[in-house]
């Protein structure tokens, strides 16, 4: 039976799994970004998550809130590109949503993800349908909220979010970009998956796996 709340261990494991997933999918993310952007998304995130993991190892964060804050700072100071400040906001706002350094139950997770999305949108000013990572985050947050409202366990909430993010990413394929570098292509951006939506799906899948591995 799944654990009822997630703490610092889960948060650390999530980040480690994210770093691994990004690293394994580095070339794929580069390929996606090359089609409608400048081809550096895989490199940016790989560098950023490596730096974050290094920082996490030297610091000893007490709870998930501190983990996310450290990750946010690493991403913002090491990544650059659009992904740096955007994922930086995601984790910074997420960290603030974690009450103290408390553990997160299903509802807490859904609230944290909602805060992350709000941070992303405050920074990037994008809404759904603009072919950005917002198109993965928005359905993920909705799915997490629905699962939490049904009283699902944290691992299930995260799995629902991850599945919705993946679908959301699929849905970016036919879209015409109106934000970010891909928007410079206009109609020619249609027919390609948005790289940021794909990295979002990878990162949320890592969150679910980390929770599931707790049993």
């Amino acid at each position: 039976m799944a654990v009822a709340t997630l703490g610092a261990d889960w948060a650390l494991d999530w980040m480690q799994r994210s770093a691994k997933a990004v690293n394994e999918n580095r070339d794929e993310l580069i390929r996606l970004d090359r089609a409608i952007g400048d081809g550096d998304h895989g490199d940016n995130l790989d560098r950023g998550f490596r730096a974050a993991i290094d920082d996490l190892v030297t610091a000893s964060p007490d709870g998930p809130g501190e983990v996310f804050k450290l990750v946010a700072m690493s991403l913002m100071s090491k990544v650059g590109g659009a992904a740096g400040p955007l994922y930086g906001s995601v984790f910074l706002k997420g960290s603030k949503a974690v009450d103290g350094n408390g553990e997160l139950d299903g509802t807490g997770l859904a609230e944290m993800l909602a805060a992350s999305l709000a941070g992303l949108q405050a920074r990037g000013k994008a809404t759904t349908g603009e072919k950005t990572m917002v198109d993965a985050w928005t359905p993920a947050v909705e799915a997490a909220k629905a699962a939490a409202a049904e009283g699902k366990a944290p691992a299930e909430v995260l799995r629902a979010a991850a599945a919705a993010a993946a679908e959301g990413s699929d849905a970016t394929i036919p879209m015409v970009a109106t934000k970010g570098r891909a928007s410079y292509l206009g109609e020619r951006s249609a027919g390609h998956r948005d790289p940021g939506s794909q990295s979002t799906a990878l990162i949320l899948a890592a969150a679910a796996e980390a929770a599931e591995s707790l049993g």
Partner: protein, 333 residues
């Protein structure tokens, strides 16, 4: 990947160290956070001018830091914008007490990171003003996109803006000139072959052996139209038409004609474009009073070029002519 490098991930650091040693009389490399500043430090009482952006657009990075141009620059990884921390540090290095202008190239990453960098600088009580450059007409300006891109014209903008700061204009005035400069120019480019970013190890895009791409982005972002190879005159006409239309140029006006090489295109090919464009502009009754041809804003070893036209008045002309001493552009001193 055939490149004169050691470990791909060390390339930037090694290049920057070599650059700063070769040009130690002009620029100083600062670490943690990484940025370039003038060797002599900020000029007291002068408006500071900084820029920044992804590396790989040579000789940008430290290449335009020096008297008459930038006070500092924040170089990101290859083709990736610098971080807020770098921008903050560059701003502090450039601050001579009269505020700092951020010259930002219009890419989402650059804009976001410069916004955060400006916030950090303002927390230090440095007055920051921002101009966003977007000279590329290949991408239609529309409220439904992130706007137009900034390409080679940016270098001329940095030159003109730097000269205004150097002559003592205040932050409001320098900002006004920066906006006017951006409005006065339009650029469009093309590519024949891609480049390889060392840390990516693969070509930034694929083009057939007989294809070229019009309106290519300087990071290899797809352009407007992929077409079969055409003669230089036709290529030049396609670029010039778009630029002239955007600027609504008319007979009797004075302009700068600027051909920029993306890296692997010989100067001779750039001058063949210049030759055609100047004939066409003259036929329209437009006066080319200033010229610039060369690799001023590359995409590593991409083959291709861009064409920029900038409308000139007396003030912009004298700012363009003002002395400048940087690694990448030197004149009059």
């Amino acid at each position: 990947m055939k490149k004169i490098i050691n470990q791909p991930e060390d390339s930037l650091a090694e290049f920057m160290r070599g650059f700063s040693k070769a040009y130690h009389d002009v620029v100083a490399l600062h670490d943690e956070p990484l940025h370039f500043a003038r060797a002599g430090g900020a000029t007291s009482g002068k408006v500071g001018v900084i820029s920044g952006g992804g590396s790989g657009h040579e000789p940008l990075g430290g290449g335009y830091v020096g008297v008459g141009m930038l006070d500092a620059a924040a170089p990101g990884q290859y083709f990736s914008s610098p971080t807020p921390g770098q921008i903050h540090a560059a701003t502090a290095s450039a601050h001579g007490g009269a505020g700092v202008l951020h010259v930002v190239l219009n890419y989402t990453g650059d804009v976001l990171n410069f916004e955060s960098g400006a916030e950090l600088a303002e927390m230090d009580d440095i007055e920051v003003s921002t101009v966003i450059l977007d000279d590329d007409v290949a991408v239609e300006d529309s409220t439904f996109t992130a706007g137009r891109r900034a390409v080679a014209g940016s270098i001329v903008a940095m030159k003109v803006i730097g000269a205004a700061a150097e002559r003592g204009d205040d932050l409001a005035k320098v900002t006004e000139i920066a906006k006017k400069t951006n409005d006065a120019m339009a650029t469009m480019g093309l590519a024949l072959t891609p480049c390889i970013v060392p840390t990516q190890g693969e070509p930034s895009f694929d083009l057939g052996p007989d294809e070229l791409e019009l309106g290519i982005g300087v990071h290899g972002e797809p352009g407007v139209r992929r077409v079969s190879m055409m003669p230089a005159d036709d290529i030049t006409d396609a670029l010039l038409d778009a630029v002239v239309k955007d600027l609504e140029l008319s007979s009797g006006e004075d302009v700068l004609l600027f051909i920029n090489g993306l890296g692997a295109t010989p100067l001779s090919e750039q001058y063949i474009m210049y030759n055609r464009a100047s004939d066409q502009l003259e036929a329209m009754g437009v006066n080319i009073t200033r010229s610039l041809v060369g690799n001023y804003f590359t995409s590593l070893e991409m083959a291709g070029a861009s064409l920029t036209v900038m409308r000139l008045d007396d003030d912009l002309t004298s700012l363009f002519d003002a002395p400048v001493h940087t690694a990448g552009w030197r004149a009059g001193m």
